[in-house]
Amino acid sequence: MVAIRTNGLTKRFGDVVAVEELDLTIEKGEVFGFLGPNGAGKSTTINLLLDFIRPTDGSVEVLGIDAQQDPAAIRRRVGVLPEGYGFDDPLTGREYLEWAIRTKRADDDPDELLGLVGLTDDAGRLAGEYSKGMQQRLAFAIALVGDPDLLILDEPSTGLDPNGIQQLRSVVRERAESGTTVFFSSHILSEVEAVCDRVGVMNAGELAAVDSIDGLRDSAGGAATLRLTCATPPTGLGVESLSGVERTTVEDHTVVVDCASPAVKVDVVTHVAERATVEDIVSETVSLEALFNDLTAGGRDDGETPTAEAVER
């Protein structure tokens, strides 16, 4: 069974293409991480799923229902933590939650949900006066109302403290184990790594990759980096002429060698050891972050040197 399916989904805002020809299928029961730097089109996609905005082209299906045909029917079975929500009515956290429970015709115990997200002590305060993190907890509690078949969470950890992120993760895992499909977006890789079965990486409105975390690692190939520290500056050793070596750089006494596959490492070490005194060897496998940077080319800026900043922001 399919939880979410988009076909050739395209959204333009004037001249800006926010999402282009997106074909995405998410099976029921999956925990799917939707990754990408800011402005990659993640939120636009989610807003299209929820019919907050309308596609320029293509179609969206959620739980087998066309998103434009019957959005209310979708919302009955989906729990949503949207981006850019606002608690601007003078209602308390508990009142907001009770309103959500009534609107969803659910029979949740508000106290239980408040406890689950750690808001028990603040339930009687106006939600508009909550800190960002507390509002995020309340919005998450609202998403959980009525034990939905599908949770759509847009950047759920925004504003949460580490403790809150931990709570969020454990609730997501719990719900996933009981069969709930979870679709959540994030620009933080570690978060996705920790809970997701599969990830999709968006970049500049297009899906750059869809795979499991392990699959992504594999597809990055054996690309590996060797750092060899030598007694003398290791210049002119001819390492770059070895087959399978992609790039070498020399920093002071250290030569950094990017290898196309792990097997090349031995050749490199042998080659260098024959020509210089090697004092230390550090081998690094490709990090997911580097992969993420590769896939997204450092984000919208399209910079020559992808930085970790695009990931952390």
Partner: protein
């Protein structure tokens, strides 16, 4: 169908708005003072009270649109600007439910305010004059509620049509000018503009009935005509400034037509506002 849930939350929020309570208090004070100070010229108590409510009608004609617009202009545009709309639509509400729920809630809010003004005025009038011409009071009250509802509908429709607070304000002020102010100031009145185009630019013969008919398209004029429907016979006011000489008023300028004008202004803006809201990208 969750419009009642949307309405209930919106009404609860509105009932906690201090500024709304302040406005309601001021309006109640206003009607109390007017009712206290009103003294008809050579009239019996009963006639005085009837005259009082007709005078209140003249005041309300200008005032109620402001009350309705101020209480309603933010209702949907504000939710779109603040992000409240994503919470609304993240729950099992359709856009239809949101639109209808907001409309119902604001109608209830403003109707409460109008009721409060009538209760204070009636209480003061009865205290002062000892009589209660119930038919006229209830009649003016009913017409006022409909008139206010028209402007709530217009404000909610405008609010649903725009995405931002600033544009909602501009649209509401514009609506007040177009539908009320332009019918009050003699120099720049709609009738004057039509007369100018009709006679001076197009060279037609003067046609007072036509100018009056154009004036009648405003809910402001319709309200004043509708009051004629509920006052005792013989107390009707001549709403149009000029009348055609030695001719009976044509049927399309009759007092009953005001109800049609109200109906058009209720349904038209709501339909357009809803369609625009339904088709819009809300974020």
């Amino acid at each position: 169908m969750s419009a009642p849930d949307v309405a209930r939350k919106d009404f609860l929020a509105a009932s906690r708005s201090r500024s709304l309570w302040l406005v309601a208090t001021l309006l109640g004070l206003l009607t109390t003072v007017v009712a206290y100070g009103y003294q008809g010229y050579r009239l019996g108590p009963r006639e005085t009270v009837i005259q009082l409510f007709m005078t209140l009608g003249t005041v309300f004609a200008l005032l109620l649109p402001i009350v309705a617009l101020v209480a309603s202009y933010m209702t949907i545009a504000g939710e779109r600007e603040s992000g409240g709309v994503t919470l609304l639509l993240g729950l099992p509400n359709s856009r239809h439910d949101v639109f209808l729920g907001k409309l119902l809630s604001r109608l209830a809010v403003v109707a409460s305010g109008v009721t409060f003004m009538f209760v204070t005025a009636t209480a003061m009038a009865v205290t002062r004059h000892g009589v209660l011409p119930l038919g006229t009071v209830l009649g003016v009250f009913a017409v006022s509620i409909v008139y206010t509802a028209v402007f709530v509908a217009i404000a909610v429709a405008l609010s649903a049509s725009v995405g931002a607070r600033s544009r909602a304000i501009a649209a509401s002020v514009g609506a007040y000018f177009l539908l009320v102010v332009l019918y009050v100031i003699p120099g720049v009145s709609v009738a004057g503009i039509v007369r100018f185009v009709h006679r001076t630019m197009l060279g037609f013969e003067r046609n007072v009935n036509l100018y009056n008919a154009v004036t009648y398209t405003s809910p402001f004029t319709a309200y004043r005509k509708a009051i004629n429907l509920v006052v005792p016979d013989g107390r009707e006011q001549q709403v149009f400034r000029r009348m055609a000489e030695n001719a009976d008023l044509p049927a399309y300028l009759g007092d009953e037509v005001s109800l049609l004008v109200f109906a058009v202004w209720l349904v038209g803006p709501l339909a357009i506002g809803y369609l625009r809201f339904e088709g819009a990208d809300l974020l």
